[in-house]
């Protein structure tokens, strides 16, 4: 290869590396690799003998099943849980665009679950009403954070956490009237009110008749794409981003920043609420009214959204990945390894995402230096 050709190739490579999308993907892959590696080390510490097998089990998830039919069925289960995770991730992401860290997504998810199950079990309403109830409940819960933030300057992280706990206890109280008499779980939808189950439109046939696979999964993906469109192509999306980048400048140029903060949190809350309905109206799981910790779905959403490079499309893949390893963790030998090792890996990934900005800065300054050097050489 001549020197000239080589230079051209190198230039192309550089410009590829300079693209923000490529950098984001690269950074996310790096986070995943390092996260899995640290998880592997932890497994080695716990029990060195089975560590190789354990990390492979986590990564393989449903592929551990020998038959294709079984693998497909459990793939369906992973997707059932990935859909609500995607919704929570989108909730956090949408708010983050406006400069708000919506850690209250976990609580908005909880009240969404409470509202949809209450409508389904106590009031016997059909699924679309339950879904709407979850949307409104989550949204209103988000608005509380928004009003506190916009008018009273309350840090949204702290108020979000407080509301998470208030939501949990309230929902536990509200749903204890519709629980099974012999267990702490709410009545099953299939036996109490079948009309409240989300329709499947024949999708379950694709996954070896996994009855939990419903319209929730394609809907979640469509909502993600919709958000991408709203954020990148509409005035409202532009205002949200402008508020996030420079609040005072946005205010100065005539945007109603207070209204935008509240509206953003309404949408964020509604997304998380819908996510809860997507999960609990599939009948996959029943709510336990004695649970004493906030469900992790909202917190895992933070991992998914940052791993997705704060882009709705990237978040689709990231949500799937996070749920994939979380489900994979449940296949570990329970008498040798704790399944929370997957949560541990997700948490490491979130921590590493904190370094992404620095990573991009580092990459860009290297590219710039190289460019400068190259130009200097030509002269």
């Amino acid at each position: 290869m001549s020197a000239e050709n080589k230079g051209a190739v190198a230039k192309e490579k550089e410009s590829l590396l300079a693209k923000p999308a490529v950098q984001s993907i690269l950074a996310s892959l790096l986070c995943i690799i390092v996260g899995l590696f640290i998880g592997y080390i932890a497994l080695l510490f716990i029990n060195a003998k089975g560590a190789n097998e354990a990390i492979v089990t986590i990564i393989k998830n449903y592929f551990t099943y020998p038959t294709k039919a079984a693998a497909l069925k459990y793939c369906g289960n992973t997707l059932v849980k990935a859909a609500p995770l995607l919704m929570c991730a989108l909730s956090i992401q949408f708010c983050y665009q406006a400069g708000l860290f919506n850690i209250g997504a976990a609580g908005q998810y909880v009240v969404g679950a409470g509202a949809s199950l209450f409508c389904a079990l106590k009031l016997g309403l059909p699924w679309f009403v339950c879904l709407l109830a979850a949307l409104v409940a989550g949204g209103v819960y988000g608005v509380i954070v928004g009003v506190l933030k916009a008018y009273l300057n309350v840090n949204e992280v702290i108020s979000g956490i407080m509301l998470n706990w208030i939501g949990l206890y309230t929902v536990n109280m509200a749903l204890s009237s519709v629980k099974e008499s012999s267990s702490p779980y709410t009545l099953s939808l299939a036996s109490t009110n079948e009309a409240a189950l989300l329709p499947s439109l024949g999708l379950e046939k694709l996954f070896s008749n996994n009855k939990y696979v419903t319209v929730a999964i394609p809907l979640a993906v469509i909502i993600a794409i919709l958000l991408k469109v709203v954020l990148s192509m509409t005035v409202f999306g532009y205002e949200i981003k402008a508020t996030g980048i420079a609040k005072d400048a946005a205010k100065y140029s005539g945007m109603k920043e207070k209204r935008n903060v509240i509206l953003t949190l309404f949408i964020g809350g509604a997304l998380a609420g819908i996510g809860a309905a997507f999960f609990f109206l599939s009948g996959y799981e029943q709510w336990s009214v004695t649970q004493s910790s906030v469900p992790g779905m909202g917190f895992n959403g933070i991992a998914a959204t940052f791993l997705g490079g704060l882009d709705p499309i990237g978040t689709i893949f990231a949500s799937y990945f996070i749920e994939h390893i979380t489900s994979g963790g449940s296949y570990l030998d329970k008498n040798a390894y704790p399944s929370q090792i997957s949560d541990f890996i997700s948490a490491i990934i979130i921590y590493l995402c904190g370094f992404v900005l620095f990573f991009k800065f580092f990459l860009n300054s290297r590219i710039r230096n190289k460019k400068n050097n190259a130009e200097g050489g030509n002269k």
């Binding site: 860290f101 309350v154 840090n155 702290i158 109280m173 910790s293 490491i348």
Partner: protein, 313 residues
């Protein structure tokens, strides 16, 4: 009544310790949202010390050992925050949240692994410390005095003296108000912020062990510390970042937290027939209301949350 007083003082001690931790960190300019996670790690260290220490040792040795290990665990864990946020200018909210999730997951993994190794059929995340815990308390009639109450009081006095009466404290606060000005007179902002975060780690670590030994003799680490780190942040804001006010605010919040432990012991409260969940919610509701009224005119350190960049103007 004595029980209510006892629990109020205990929970207030937790809140004082952790809120002072937040106070040191924020005065240096770093928002430490990872307090909750640091508490969990300190609690884990302390709980394991209690589990393995010889309970026939003199009480003072046990108390000091538990204190030392909790301080160490908290400080070590907080370096993760300092490293990312001070040296690498990472988003402080994101890293703090990551620390909380990481601590909950890591503590569960560690506690479970220890249980599994001891007995493969025990897959719970509970650590028990019934015997050694007795060393932490002294019975004064009906009132159970806990040594950690004294620790919290000492921490409060020390914090006041350090922040307002020493060169170190005043320099620390300068870094949180106007780091560029501090740097211009020769104060190393990075060192000061590291110091702030490490102190917050130590205090939160102790807060963690106090919380999980308050009234119980075992702890299920899957539960973390139930948002107490964030309650402490609310106490800190209510206390306007000042040690003395923090102490008073902690007493108020501690009282409401204590109510949920002992409400059934009061005839008139039990007669009201309010579900236990309402009492459990109380501290969180109160803190929301308090925050709503105090955040508007907040006296937060001016440069908190902004990574310090020597080159910026």
């Amino acid at each position: 009544m004595v029980l209510l007083l006892q629990y109020t003082l205990l929970f207030a001690s937790v809140l004082i310790l952790v809120a002072l931790g937040g106070c040191f960190s924020e005065h240096s300019g770093v928002i430490n949202l990872g307090l909750e996670g640091i508490m969990v790690m300190g609690a884990l260290g302390g709980a394991l010390t209690l589990k393995y220490i010889d309970s026939s040792l003199p009480a003072i040795v046990i108390v000091l050992a538990v204190l030392a290990i909790s301080i160490l665990c908290g400080a070590v864990y907080s370096t993760l925050l300092a490293f990312a946020c001070i040296n690498f200018k990472a988003d402080q909210t994101l890293v703090g949240t990551a620390l909380n999730l990481l601590a909950a997951a890591a503590a569960t993994v560690i506690a479970k692994s220890i249980n599994i190794i001891e007995d493969p059929n025990n897959v719970s995340s509970t650590v028990q410390y019934v015997e050694a815990k007795k060393a932490l308390v002294v019975n004064l009639g009906k009132f159970q005095f806990n040594w950690f109450m004294l620790v919290a009081f000492i921490a409060l006095v020390c914090a006041y003296v350090i922040l307002y009466k020493t060169r170190f404290g005043l320099r620390l606060m300068a870094c949180g108000e106007h780091p560029q000005a501090a740097d211009s007179v020769g104060i190393n902002v990075y060192t000061m912020r590291w110091a702030g975060v490490l102190i917050s780690g130590m205090l939160a670590g102790v807060g963690g062990i106090v919380y999980i030994t308050a009234g119980v003799s075992e702890w299920k680490f899957e539960n973390g510390v139930a948002g107490f780190g964030f309650l402490a942040l609310a106490v800190m804001i209510f206390g306007q970042w000042k040690p003395v006010n923090i102490g008073l605010a902690a007493l108020l919040f501690g009282f409401f937290r204590a109510l949920s432990n002992v409400y059934s012991g009061f005839d008139f409260l039990a007669a009201l027939n309010i579900p236990g969940s309402v009492y459990n919610m109380m501290p969180y509701i109160i803190s929301l209301i308090v925050l709503a009224f105090t955040s508007a005119n907040s006296r937060a350190p001016k440069a908190e949350g902004i990574p310090y960049d020597k080159g910026s103007r």
